[in-house]
């Protein structure tokens, strides 16, 4: 049995790791949205095809994946050491490191840092972790506006919407919807704006350029932090990140503690894995790296907030900790047949899709995201695509067991627990199993052939869309005894 050390999970009431509804309820809303289904199917199919092409062209792709997994496994085993090394190196090069146990602490630190500059506006690089902790809301409460500068994040922000994908946060929107959002919400937008992608990007560029040139504080996440030199790294496509990281006087980076990697050699592995898995590109257009403060170049004040927010609790689970290996490429989202049909919002957390279904409950504690480990058919497409070989189906099954084991402490047991233990009792013995089969043949009463169109609960959900088979007149084992006899039954 895994031992849990009682590490604190991500606190309630702050950030975006928990949805309002359980997954099946939230999924129902998405399933009914034909435009959303169409947008998602088209976008994920396009990214899937690109990824398949660029991963197939590398002869050592599988070795790279294995290397990625090995580096992450080693890093997690010595996370304390690498984090202290990162802090020492970052500090020795003029940066300032802050440690945040949870979302509340990280938000307080960030708000104080911005306040100290006197700025009332910050420009942001696309960052999932700042959304995890609800930083924009915390800044707004302090009278500070956070401007998202990634095109898709800007669409989401202006549309008062939530991101639904790691990499393509507005994947659920098509260009006509984006034009409408810009016309409604973007200051100074040309009222004759068309829905041509180039025009939409042009409008965003004009809007953002002003923000970049006036901003005094930039806020970012980090894709990687190299412990040996204290270097932070952001990988992006649009160049907005480069602007945020270089133009302001003060740069505040918030990073989950699992993002540290030991060396530059390790970084080389991930810079091959990430773009190919994420956007299906051989290399992403912009890779920014910064090491402390450089006189005469870039921000004068460089901060790093290292965030736990449930990560140590995840690390304490020796099976589950693989979820921390994730490099947020979203390959698992794009290949997931469940994600493709419901989109990111149904998961209720900033971490959607297969990895979100394991990561979110590990960060919050399972009871707060109890429906997520079941939001998968265990088809395994995610594991096959994951650039660091996270065995997501194994983790899902593991979390289901943790969830069931936690429920065992409550009395009385639920209907499912009773059904499952009865079924196991019946099937643990062949004589009892034969009796259960005979009982099942009662299903034949009144309908010797054909199908069953309606089953009682809990199986009623099956027959809402599918017929069920009528039990046959004779089970296999009965046929065997009749035709082959017991003489052949010895192995």
């Amino acid at each position: 049995m895994t031992t849990f050390l009682g590490m604190p999970t991500a606190p309630r009431g702050v950030g975006h790791l928990r949805g309002d509804d359980p997954f099946p309820v939230a999924a129902r809303r998405s399933l009914a949205d034909a435009q959303l289904r169409r947008n998602l199917a088209k976008a994920t199919a396009t990214i899937r095809a690109k990824r398949a092409k660029v991963t197939a062209e590398l002869p050592d792709w599988e070795e790279l994946r294995a290397a990625g997994r090995a580096i992450k496994t080693r890093t997690m085993a010595h996370l304390d050491r690498y984090l202290e090394q990162l802090e020492a190196e970052f500090t020795s090069r003029g940066g300032i490191v802050h440690w945040a146990a949870d979302a509340h602490e990280a938000n307080l630190i960030a708000v104080d840092l911005v306040r100290a500059t006197g700025a009332t506006e910050v420009v942001k690089v696309k960052s999932i972790v700042t959304d995890e902790i609800g930083l924009n809301e915390a800044l707004a409460d302090a009278g500070i506006s956070a401007i998202e500068t990634d095109l898709a994040e800007l669409i989401v922000q202006l549309g008062h919407d939530r991101p639904s994908h790691f990499l393509v946060p507005a994947i659920h929107r098509n260009r006509a919807e984006i034009r409408d959002i810009f016309l409604r919400q973007m200051d100074g937008v040309d009222p004759g704006l068309t829905d041509r992608p180039a025009d939409l990007a042009g409008a965003a560029r004009r809007y953002l350029r002003q923000k970049f040139l006036t901003a005094r504080v930039g806020v970012s996440g980090a894709n990687f932090a190299v412990a040996e030199t204290g270097t932070l790294c952001v990988v992006e496509s649009e160049g907005n990140g480069r602007m945020c990281l270089t133009l302001p006087d003060t740069l505040i980076t918030i990073m989950g503690i699992e993002k540290v990697i030991p060396t530059w050699t390790d970084l080389g592995v991930f810079l091959q894995l990430l773009p190919r898995s994420a956007t299906g590109e051989r290399m992403n257009p912009y890779t920014s790296m910064w090491t402390g403060v450089t006189p005469g170049d870039g921000p004068r004040q460089v901060h790093l907030i290292l965030l736990d927010n449930g990560r140590t609790a995840a690390l304490a689970d020796s099976v589950g900790r693989q979820a921390l290996h994730c490099i947020r490429c979203s390959a698992c989202l794009n290949v997931c047949p469940v994600y493709e049909r419901v989109g990111g919002h149904a998961y209720g957390s900033v971490y959607p899709g297969p990895i979100g279904a394991v990561l979110s409950p590990m960060l919050t504690g399972i009871e707060d995201n109890a429906s997520l480990p079941y939001a998968s058919s265990l088809c395994g497409a995610c594991y096959e695509a994951c650039p660091v070989q996270i065995d997501i189906p194994e983790l899902l099954v593991h979390l289901r067991a943790r969830h069931v084991d936690e429920a065992r402490r409550r009395w009385p047991p639920g209907l499912e627990a009773i059904t499952m233990s009865t079924a196991a009792w019946a099937m643990a013995d062949p004589a009892r199993f034969r009796s259960a089969q005979s009982l099942g043949r009662l299903g034949r009463v009144g309908r010797r052939r054909g199908v069953i169109g309606r089953l009682p609960p809990p199986l009623a959900a099956w027959t809402r869309a599918r017929d069920a088979p009528v039990p046959p007149a004779e089970t296999f084992r009965h046929w065997w005894s009749r035709t082959h006899g017991d003489a052949h039954d010895r192995p």
């Binding site: 047949p337 469940v338 194994e394 196991a424 643990a428 062949p430």
Partner: protein
């Protein structure tokens, strides 16, 4: 050779024709088939639903029943996958290392039907005749958990009279997923609908696969729509003459 059949609880109870076809096929190829009577269920439903402690008794029963068999043949990629990847894992997690090693022994000698035919028996043309238009759905666990690759297709291509047509998006899940089909019935239905759309586009009269569970799901949907397409387990096609 002497092979033990693990028929699976689903085929035993609801699809005995799959077990009968497997026996007929193996016997026709000259193998001596045994049916160890102690067998019941591999426990996959329990493991996948989080009930590992309940599954442990089923795993122990399975391991004891098949401990002395030289080769175990299973007409299911999914149950083969559970035996291979879950039995030892669950035993170990629940502290029974001895059962875990015995489970690994049994797993090493356990084969999905298509694996057994191609890899162990070394045969691709099993002498079947099946004059129908057929499309094949590679089930997720046969494809991604045990890695059957194109073995089922190689077997099907040798069937005489068959009109084997390719299924679009074949490798996408049909939406079954065990209790997923109940707990997330609506997402499961959306996945099934797309699978059926691709099946109907092939104009096949038969949809085949290596797992009765996925076929129960796909067939249940096709039957509800009165689509006029039937399901057949790959064992039934390979046994047909």
């Amino acid at each position: 050779m002497r092979v033990a059949l693990f028929v699976t609880c689903l085929a035993d109870t609801l699809y005995p024709q799959v077990g009968r076809a497997t026996v007929r096929l193996l016997e026709r190829l000259g193998h001596q088939v045994t049916f160890p009577q102690g067998q019941t269920c591999c426990g996959q439903m329990h493991v996948n639903s989080g009930y590992q402690r309940e599954a442990l008794a089923l795993i122990r029963r399975h391991v004891e029943t098949f401990a002395d068999c030289a080769a175990v043949v299973v007409p299911s990629g999914s149950c083969t996958g559970s035996i291979r990847h879950q039995h030892a894992m669950v035993a170990r997690r629940l502290g029974d290392d001895e059962l875990a090693s015995r489970a690994e022994e049994v797993a090493r000698r356990t084969f999905d039907l298509s694996e057994f035919l191609v890899d162990v028996a070394g045969v691709e043309d099993v002498g079947a005749y099946y004059p129908h238009r057929v499309t094949y759905h590679p089930t997720c666990h046969s494809l991604r958990v045990i890695g059957v690759g194109d073995r089922p297709l190689r077997l099907l291509r040798h069937v005489s009279g068959i009109d084997l047509v390719e299924l679009a998006d074949a490798e996408t899940c049909c939406g079954f997923g065990g209790t997923f089909a109940i707990k997330n019935a609506e997402v499961s239905t959306a996945m099934l609908t797309d699978k059926m759309r691709h099946i109907l586009a092939t104009k096949a009269e038969v949809i085949t696969a290596g797992d009765s569970s996925c076929l129960m799901h796909i067939g249940g949907g096709l039957s509800r729509l009165k689509a006029g397409v039937r399901t057949a387990h790959i064992a039934e096609i390979l046994a047909a003459q």
